[in-house]
């Protein structure tokens, strides 16, 4: 971790912005707290955590939490994935 800090600007892409917005909207509807988001991120296995981008970790945590709290079911998610 004692490596140089990349201080270059990195703009957000559409995916990043959409994930960020979904997180905010779910929080506003009390369907996902920021602490649940953080818990889900911390639960990602280490190797994968390092492979994923910042917002890839977020969407993974969001999906994990929505499944846990029953807002969506694994079956629903699987069929939605099959459609896309």
């Amino acid at each position: 971790m004692c490596e140089p800090v990349d201080t270059n600007p990195h703009g957000l892409n559409d995916f990043d912005r959409r994930v960020d917005a979904v997180r905010q909207l779910l929080a506003a509807k009390k369907l996902l707290s920021v602490d649940e988001l953080r818990r889900g991120i911390e639960a990602i296995p280490q190797a994968e955590y390092h492979r994923l981008s910042y917002y890839e970790r977020w969407i993974r945590s969001i999906a994990d939490n929505l499944l846990r709290t029953g807002v969506i079911t694994e079956q629903e998610l699987q069929s939605a994935l099959d459609e896309t």
Binding site: T7, F15, V22, Q24, L25, L26, R60
Partner: protein, 194 residues
């Protein structure tokens, strides 16, 4: 393979479709939220700093309650965590970090920059902050000045009120606001008269 290991874009598309079908989050709401989020940017924090430099009453109000001070300038704070303001003085320089994740005063500074979220910034900011600021930002905090790192761990969000630089006497608010950068309000840099 776990369903959660699905590629991020596909996962987002599927989650968004389900949330839309359930009437929880529409595509339109997402677009509106993106527009609102994009509108928050460092210029808003810079406006607060410039006002604090020119109006002692506002400065006192901002240090006492950052949220109210931001709202008084028309910045949207509803639904946002409380904002705390850390005043740099001739004796103390503040540096904000979130070692546990990436808590950032987004209402007044916008999306956190890439470096703020990096493991190296987060680790080095608490372990060796003077060396970090000197090597990455050429910011030298004099030995006579206390460096106070603020690790943003819980429910507040923190911004730095930097010192007004020399050579800005008589400048109006707009001109002052224009020299205040994102990093100045996190404490990795200090404003200079441009």
């Amino acid at each position: 393979m776990s369903i959660l290991e699905t590629d991020g874009s596909r996962l987002l598309a599927a989650v968004a479709v389900l949330l839309d079908r359930k009437g929880l989050v529409s595509d339109e709401a997402i677009r509106e939220r993106i527009a609102l989020t994009d509108a928050a940017e460092p210029a808003q924090g810079a406006r607060m700093v410039a006002r604090a430099w020119t109006d002692p009453d506002f400065r006192a109000a901002m240090l006492a309650d950052g949220t109210q001070a931001a709202e008084s300038l028309g910045i949207m704070m509803r639904g946002m965590p409380p904002l705390g303001v850390l005043e740099n003085t001739a004796a103390v320089h503040h540096l904000v970090v979130c070692t546990l994740c990436s808590c950032y005063p987004r209402a007044v500074l916008g999306y956190p920059p890439f470096w703020y979220k990096s493991a190296s910034f987060r680790a080095r900011a608490v372990r060796n902050p003077r060396e970090l600021l000197a090597s990455e930002w050429k910011t030298i905090v004099p030995a006579s000045v206390k460096l106070r790192v603020v690790d943003s761990t819980a429910d507040y969000r923190w911004m730095v009120l930097p010192l007004r630089p020399a050579g800005t006497d008589g400048w109006d608010e707009a001109r002052l606001a224009a020299i205040v950068r994102e990093g100045d309000m996190i404490g990795v840099t200090c404003p200079v008269a441009a």
